[in-house]
């Protein structure tokens, strides 16, 4: 692809939740809605300096990467409130009714005390998020997100409600060691190739 003006074009936002959820638990995508202005995708790359005394205390002689998260901000103007409620439910611990809180300490990736669950399986509350891109053809697909920060700002009044929504994507995996145990070997890739986002050809999972 040569250089050019980059215009994403209209950006439909899709979500997918855990299997079995009545609102977003299907195997296909569910439309969350359209934003009133550009959706902001902010990559949060983390690094840490490697300091050696020979280089003094300020400038590193090498830098280590310590993974990344992504913050996605959008102002929804034409959206499905039921689906937004479902995203709120998932982000509050996978509760059954919006407005109720989950158990304190519940993991988003699984139940308290349970093993980590693969994305989209029942009990895993992370939300798959897709920002479609029919014009530019560069779909953003985030695998494990939840509503964070001040997750939703919901103006209520006679004007149309433009809801400010903030998602956080992390590279969740159900196995932090990165591989099944191989006795006598040194298997284990840690975070290597854990999925944070990708760009599929079309807006599908």
């Amino acid at each position: 692809m040569a250089r050019n003006l980059f215009i994403n074009g209209e950006s439909m936002v899709y979500v997918r939740g855990p299997s079995g959820d009545a609102d977003i638990g299907g195997s296909s995508l569910t439309q969350l809605g359209l934003a009133g202005d550009p959706i902001q995708v902010q990559l949060g790359l983390r690094h840490r300096d490697v300091i050696v005394d020979a280089w003094g205390p300020e400038i590193p002689m090498d830098v280590q990467t310590f993974l990344s998260d992504v913050i996605i901000n959008m102002n929804l103007v034409h959206f499905d409130r039921t689906i937004l409620d479902a995203c709120l439910r998932m982000s509050m611990g996978g509760v059954s009714t919006v407005g109720l809180v989950g158990r304190a300490g519940r993991r988003l990736g699984s139940a308290v005390g349970g093993p980590g669950l693969a994305p989209f399986t029942a009990g895993n509350s992370y939300i798959g998020l897709i920002i479609d891109s029919p014009v530019a053809g560069k779909v953003w697909r985030f695998y494990s997100t939840y509503l964070t920060g001040n997750p939703v700002s919901f103006p209520l009044g006679v004007e149309r409600s433009i809801v400010a929504v903030q998602f956080r994507a992390i590279p969740y995996t159900d196995d932090p060691w990165g591989a099944s145990l191989t006795h006598g070997g040194t298997a284990g890739t840690g975070s290597l190739n854990a999925k944070l986002w990708d760009h599929p050809a079309t807006a599908t999972w």
Partner: protein, 202 residues
């Protein structure tokens, strides 16, 4: 291998018990057909602290403060880790083995007879030997550790119980365990405190 930055990378921990754990008295919730168990992952660096012992050999000609020779008096090793993603049943077994081992059918937390020798004068990994070996993997640096004979020591473990994730702090002590030979002698020479060979399943 030349000098370089040393980065161990992700460090999985395994433990190996005496056969009374792995074969005849399996850890609850864990397959009983194997002797090597996955303990888990730490939330931060695992700290390995060897403790060397030396003793001065004084001579009057050198006065009271300085020694013309020093005797090597053996070593032990302390390993500290804060586990975040671990098998609580394996941790239970480690805690009980460090209390002198538990009897068949006993619940965790039950004391063994006071004064019981941890090794019971039998080889490592034999039934009745309550020492454990600890394997720390190193797939990035490729410099794993295996500590051969150890147990949790004081304060052995802290287990916070609450709604936050339970970060279990473990404090291991490893010693150069040895048994008398056929003549009844115990030799320290050649006893392995740690090496870089990982345990294998039987």
């Amino acid at each position: 291998m030349g000098r370089n930055l040393v980065i161990n990378g992700e460090a999985m921990t395994w433990v190996k018990f005496g056969k009374h754990i792995g074969i005849t008295n399996s850890v609850p919730g864990v397959s009983g057909s194997q002797v090597l168990f996955e303990l888990g992952l730490a939330s931060e660096e695992i700290r390995v602290t060897p403790k060397y012992n030396h003793m001065d050999l004084p001579a009057d000609d050198y006065g009271r403060e300085t020694s013309p020779e020093t005797l090597w008096m053996g070593a032990e090793c302390n390993v500290q880790m804060t586990l975040v993603h671990y098998d609580p049943y394996v941790l239970d077994a480690i805690m009980n083995e460090s209390m002198g081992g538990f009897e068949l059918g006993e619940d965790p937390g039950v004391l063994a007879p006071i004064g019981r020798p941890m090794g019971a004068n039998v080889p490592m990994y034999s039934s009745g030997n309550h020492y454990m070996s600890l394997n720390i993997l190193s797939p990035v640096q490729d410099m794993p550790y295996r500590f051969r004979t150890g147990y949790l020591t004081g304060p052995p473990v802290e287990i916070p119980l609450g709604t936050s994730r339970t970060l279990a702090k473990l404090n291991w002590r490893f010693i150069p365990y040895a048994r008398p030979n056929a003549s009844g002698e115990v030799y320290s020479s050649g006893v392995v405190l740690w090496d870089r060979e990982l345990d294998r399943d039987p």
